[in-house]
Symmetry: C2
Subunit: 353 residues, 2 copies
């Protein structure tokens, strides 16, 4: 039996009780509101965890990279997969077509005509209908058509191309009221044009428990909720008690009374900050602040701490952004009580293409 306390550091650990509760709670919420749950597996990249999400009632999974679809398809996780990234270029189109032959329902998103034409040509080459959703930018400022009219225009162009099958509209993340207003207007336009919109897909963990306030959503894609992290806590959607991922780290130096250095830097925690300050929440010393990271060092300001750790002490850090942490390691440890119950290879780690 492997004990959690025996894990050498740094190590990415997952508290199984908390994770299982997160999976159950989110599925129940979406079930209650009649919204299909399509968890984003980029957060964990572990097929076994995708299977747990499917067993809990998910309709299918979301992937961000073709490489993730390949890994999760090879592992037999789901027969219904949405790839929320514009697929472009011959190499990727061929990989997509190979997957389409193996997955019962594989859909992609697109937000421009170049992508639509490439997918259509791939579908023609392989005799495959390519299911697609139109990605809409409802205020996040990333990918997506900018207006409901542009969504309809693109749908009309794509529907004239052979082997493309329109499935609906997609956005990330849900924003209220922008997303609701965008989709309200878009659905009016599509209805008037006589184009059915079977799927309206929203996403994001911070907005998850208010997904029902965007009443046209048929499905929701969230990833982070399975573990939660500092960003989700900062959004008010979770508490520290809902955070399943903890990076186990050792205090390797105490150069001065107010400074500790831990053996977890950007190579585990990453530099992601987005909306939050610092680089993670130290569970044992909640007043401590991780003020700076190098690749292998985490600089911890102890000036606000009454109790302070010694060299050799182990601490547990809830990371700012759990999705990027799973990508930094080859394995994660599932912990229940004192015990390491499972070691998962992060099978889809590093799938950059």
């Amino acid at each position: 039996m492997m004990l959690a306390n025996d894990l050498d550091t740094p190590a990415v650990t997952i508290r199984l009780d908390i994770m299982e509760d997160n999976i159950r709670r989110v599925q129940q919420h979406l079930d209650r509101h009649g919204i299909a749950n399509r968890p984003h597996i980029k957060t964990h990249k572990v097929p076994e965890l995708g299977k747990l999400q499917m067993q809990a009632g998910a309709i299918g999974i979301t992937c961000q990279k073709l490489g993730e679809v390949e890994v999760f398809t090879n592992a037999g996780v789901a027969d219904d997969v949405l790839l929320t990234f514009n697929v472009l270029g011959r190499a990727k189109t061929e990989r997509l077509m190979a997957l389409a032959a193996r997955v019962r329902r594989l859909a992609v998103v697109l937000d421009n005509e170049v992508v639509a034409r490439g997918l259509s040509e791939g579908g023609v080459r392989h005799g495959v209908d390519v299911r697609f959703l139109i990605e809409c930018d409802t205020g996040f400022g990333r990918n997506g058509v900018q207006t409901p009219d542009a969504a309809l225009d693109l749908a009309r162009v794509a529907l004239k191309l052979p082997r493309l099958a329109f499935e609906g509209l997609m956005t990330f993340p849900n924003r209220d009221p922008e997303t609701r207003e965008f989709f309200t207007r878009a659905l009016e336009l599509f209805k008037r044009a006589g184009i059915p919109v079977p799927v309206v897909s929203g996403g994001g963990t911070p907005s998850l428990f208010r997904a029902q306030e965007i009443p046209m959503l048929t499905e929701h894609r969230a990833g982070t909720y399975i573990f939660n992290d500092v960003m989700v806590v900062a959004s008010g959607t979770a508490t520290w008690d809902n955070c399943a991922m903890r990076v186990r780290a050792t205090v390797v130096s105490r150069p001065m009374s107010t400074r500790a250095v831990i053996d977890a830097g950007t190579k585990v925690l990453t530099s992601d900050q987005y909306t939050v300050k610092g680089y993670g929440h130290v569970l044992e010393y909640p007043e401590a602040a991780i003020t700076n990271l190098s690749e292998e060092h985490g600089i911890v300001d102890l000036s606000q701490c009454r109790e302070r750790p010694a060299v050799g002490d182990v601490v547990h850090v809830i990371p700012n952004h759990c999705c990027v942490v799973s990508n930094m390691v080859d394995e994660m440890y599932g912990v229940r009580g004192e015990r390491v119950e499972t070691v998962w290879p992060v099978a889809a780690r590093g799938t950059v293409r």
Copy 2:
């Protein structure tokens, strides 16, 4: 023959001519000043590149993790290795002892008594003398004893412990005048105490070409110089023409006239910013600004660009921090002219322990 233009994106490419020039130029500079070159292999994590650095005249290599030492030792890169991280705990100490039996000269750094005692106990268990340098914080605010007196005190404690062999002093990065002042005083104290200090080891790429201004340095450890990056250019130590690493990326979306989205996000470029703005320098569109990253998306502000890329165009991004980019991918591509000359597995990628 594989052509660089055929590489699917995102891909981390290295311009071989530039890299070879960087290796040569830095070695010549340090040779001219009689400073030994001990390149830090964390930047590339590729044994073949460590061999090129050794062939060019490096005295040995620097590693930051035991896992890196293991990979580079297995590949037979160098018989003289400095591990610049406090080694702590039974598991790591045992790995260090196994390496000490295989590497002609393996040294570590330490900055506190707990680490010294652990290494001494390991040395006694295995009948091995453990060579160590004392890490000094000369202003960076990371690991290291805080004063020259503290360096001497720690050396005295460590020298009383069995199986520890004092080799010298180490800092990162060189700072002028703080580093010079610290080492001047420390060398006086050690001389007065009758303790020889054979090695004084400095580090960092931005300070590399001024290493000779800290005249007591016997060796210099730099990593980034082999590729260079936005941070090094911002420091004035290199120009864009000296930057060998370029992340090949495709424009996958043009949601509006002033915005492009590329398929390289934090999963390749990382969130590292430190001293610079934005998330990388787009070679083909130098007025473009990568203003935001998600894991798989790079948001590019084109408002200052006269020429603007179309969906499907490929661009090359010089990353902010090359050392963390090599850690994100399983392979890097060595390019000469139009040709991909080599594909290197990033053998020491992900060595978090």
